[in-house]
């Protein structure tokens, strides 16, 4: 099986220490986390982790099972790139004088979908939101002009096939949950969305 990029979406309770519980599931197996984002979700009080790793599907599936085993995890899904809509945000700090003189700023803004979010005498900060290639491209453009600082956010992703978590959560609230709350209905069937 080939390694590829998987985006894991985990719905959890909001509990101190859970981040560590989830992170060590990867570190224990020497798996590098490419990006990790924690945020609120569509459901009030439910937290959402978005984790990106490069692994085979078999490994990712096992990891999701280990994640779901944690008491405070509601559900874990994994998806390939074509199954999600995703974005990353990058900030670039560049010297204003050089940029103003040597770069066609307008072209930059148009071509790379960049926004200037701060313009000061000494520096300017651009923002690009997009896929990895898009944010990478602008680094290449700006590097010759003295890129002072660069930072990129973790990935956030929406699952194309998902109906969100509102309905699911209701099942979790019941003592006798629907099947979906308990286990993976797609076990051993290569469905697009894997859920356990």
């Amino acid at each position: 099986m080939l390694k590829q990029e998987y985006t894991i979406t985990v719905y959890t309770e909001n509990q101190i220490g859970l981040l560590n519980r989830i992170a060590i599931i990867f570190s224990r197996r020497k798996i590098n986390i490419e990006s990790l984002n924690t945020s609120p979700s569509e459901v009030d009080s439910v937290h959402r982790f978005t984790i990106v790793i490069n692994e085979t599907e078999e490994v990712v599936r096992k990891l999701c099972r280990q994640i779901e085993k944690q008491v405070e995890v509601l559900k874990a899904y994994y998806n390939t790139l074509d199954e999600i809509v995703w974005q990353e945000l990058a900030l670039y700090k560049v010297p204003t004088d050089i940029i103003a003189e040597e770069v066609k700023v307008e072209r930059l803004l148009r071509e790379y979908g960049a926004k200037a979010i701060v313009i000061r005498k000494d520096y300017t900060v651009f923002e690009v939101t997009g896929h990895r290639e898009e944010t990478d491209n602008l680094i290449k453009v700006l590097e010759p002009y003295g890129l002072i600082e660069f930072v990129r956010s973790a990935r956030v992703a929406i699952i194309k096939d998902s109906d969100g978590f509102h309905e699911k959560l209701k099942e979790f609230e019941y003592r006798e949950p629907g099947e979906d709350a308990s286990e993976n209905e797609y076990l051993n069937e290569n469905e697009k969305v894997f859920s356990m």
């Binding site: 859970l18 060590i24 609230e173 308990s182």
Partner: protein
């Protein structure tokens, strides 16, 4: 994540608490009330600065709660494990912060890997000192995260009832495991309005039991009914699931030969006609070889540990695999299941039994018998009836079986004596074999035996320990001296760290590197703790001394000097397939 400390109130169907009298109590009292409400009678613990308020409250509860003061916190947690393993109750441990809590680490890891239900309450420094490197502060939550099923730090007393309710529920439900509740000293002291204790039976993010899929049960039954050489392998899941009867009904109707893992041992009587022995590195010959000849392998409540499977790419490749387990993450983890039967085996086994045909496999079972005979001729006979004067570990177990009729609880440490004891011990009752299976923790047996003796005082508890392992936790003789559990201790002394020596002999050209271990006069040591003892090395002394030991009203220590360089066989050498199991040194 934001930093709100909050315990979710369980599901909406919870009956409203009956209007109880609200009274002011301290967090410490709330802890002890929680234990009483959960039916706890025995606590294994050790006090210290950060847990003193709880111990102070315990002073008033000493008639209701039996606190066993151990000699080291590792002893407390192993005792709680032994207690839980024989009684099916949750083992409870108290320890102080810092070194008290870190001394629990080995036991937590052990309980985690062997799915033993524990609730460990640790004291912690005052909440306002957290993170300041205060005296005896350690980050217990983060240290124990990978080795607990759940852990939680309490900084406010009002959380205590609901947190402990969750702790007990999580520890004992589903696949059991250890829970650590770390309580800061201020929360132990703090008074709050206590409205009574309410047990927890639902946490929305936690599914202890996956839902049973009929479809998979039907598929499994079909595979079984079509099989010509089906083989059942079972683990502790049968015992933890309280499913011994259901399991027996299943194998008896289906007529399938069944082998146990070291953790599943005693779930059925060892002389059950369908019982074909133990799996694994030092298990029996037949079950290992025939794993690779069966056509349908039915795994019940076991997790395909590498000590059971040997080399995975040479493990049961020919077989269709049916895996019954309560823990979804075990399915396909090591061995790919053809049909996964997720669920509590207490529920899934009867469903399967209803669908399988009544059958017998005389020829197939004869294959096991043939291998058994070969093992008997080449290994067992000599081990149990040695041709030399030097005692073997096996004959000690054989004589013990004769005297206990298989009704004793046998607690073993880790090493050769463990493998020999598990190979030869006879059991009639479930929950009789207590050993550190997954972690292989030397030093486990003595404290675990103490706990087992408290957990089930109706049966004799016999601890079988190596001369090395005994020296790891022998301080717990002090606990025996003070609290008088009845533990019969048998030290099988081969004057070596035997199991390591065996490997050095077999795989490191007999370069005996630091396995030669000297021992104190164990009988004198025991005497110092007020425990009678005897050391023997002659065959004629074995039976009478074992009988005298078992007749002794209290504890007793028996040291048996055994052959120094005896090896445990059969053996699946590391890195080889189960069918490559060898019966003697020459074949390694």
């Amino acid at each position: 994540m934001d930093t709100v400390q909050e315990i979710k109130t369980p599901g909406k169907e919870h009956p409203a608490t009956p209007a109880k009298e609200v009274r002011e109590v301290s967090g410490s009292v709330a802890v002890l009330e929680a234990l009483l409400a959960e039916g706890v009678e025995t606590i294994f613990g050790y006090p210290g600065g950060a847990i003193m308020p709880i111990y102070d409250a315990l002073y008033d509860y000493r008639e209701k709660l039996n606190h066993i003061l151990v000699r080291h916190e590792q002893g407390a947690i192993h005792a709680a494990q032994g207690f839980a393993r024989v009684s099916r109750n949750v083992g409870v441990v108290f320890a102080t912060s810092g070194p008290g809590a870190t001394n629990l680490v080995t036991g937590l890891a052990d309980a985690m890997i062997d799915s033993t239900p524990l609730v460990c309450v640790t004291g912690q420094v005052f909440a306002h000192l957290l993170g300041t490197d205060a005296f005896q502060e350690t980050d217990v939550i983060n240290i124990t995260t990978p080795i607990t099923k759940w852990n939680y730090q309490v900084t406010d007393a009002s959380e205590i009832p609901s947190v402990l309710a969750k702790a007990f529920y999580i520890a004992r439900s589903g696949r059991p495991g250890p829970v650590v509740i770390d309580i800061t000293k201020n929360a132990q002291i703090q008074k709050f309005s206590y409205a009574g204790y309410q047990k927890c039976d639902h946490i929305r993010s936690y599914r202890p039991k996956p839902i049973v899929r009929k479809k998979y049960v039907e598929e499994a039954a079909k595979l079984i009914n079509e099989a010509e050489r089906p083989f059942v392998i079972f683990g502790q899941g049968v015992i933890l699931g309280n499913a011994e009867v259901e399991f027996r009904k299943f194998i008896e109707k289906a007529g399938i030969p069944s082998a146990w893992t070291i953790m599943g041992m005693s779930a059925i009587p060892t002389d059950h006609p369908l019982g074909v022995g133990m799996l694994g590195m030092h298990g029996n010959y037949g079950p290992n070889v025939l794993t690779n000849e069966c056509d349908v392998l039915i795994a019940v409540g076991m997790r395909f540990d590498d000590r059971v499977t040997g080399r995975l790419d040479k493990y049961a490749k020919q077989a269709k695999v049916i895996h019954l387990d309560i823990d979804p993450s075990e399915i396909d983890k090591n061995v790919k299941a053809t049909v996964p039967v997720w669920g509590d085996c207490k529920e899934t086994l009867p469903m399967l039994t209803a669908l399988v045909e009544q059958k017998l496999y005389p020829q197939w079972i004869q294959r096991f018998r043939d291998f058994q005979q070969k093992e008997e001729d080449q290994v067992i006979h000599e081990e149990l009836n040695p041709s030399t004067d030097i005692l073997t570990m096996g004959e000690v177990i054989k004589e013990l079986n004769a005297l206990t009729n298989g009704d004793a609880i046998v607690v073993t440490d880790v090493g050769q004596h463990q493998m020999v004891a598990c190979r030869y011990a006879k059991f009639n009752q479930s929950k009789s074999n207590v050993t550190s299976g997954g972690l292989g923790t030397m030093g486990y047996a003595l404290p675990a035996a103490i706990g087992a003796a408290f957990g089930d005082p109706s049966r004799p508890t016999v601890a079988i320990i190596g001369d090395g392992g005994f020296q790891m936790t022998l301080q717990e003789l002090g606990t025996i001296m003070q609290f008088k559990p009845h533990v019969k201790i048998i030290i099988l002394n081969n004057q070596f760290l035997g199991m390591v020596r065996q490997w050095q002999q077999l795989f490191h050209e007999k370069r005996y590197s630091f396995v030669d271990i000297t021992s104190p006069d164990f009988v004198q040591v025991a005497k110092g703790f007020g425990i009678p003892g005897k050391s023997i090395s002659k065959r004629e002394d074995l039976k009478p001394t074992l009988a005298a030991m078992l007749n002794e009203p209290g504890s007793f220590l028996l040291e048996v000097m055994v052959g120094k360089e005896n090896n445990v066989f059969p053996m699946v050498p590391q890195g080889r397939g189960v069918a490559e199991i060898v019966l003697c040194r020459e074949d390694v």
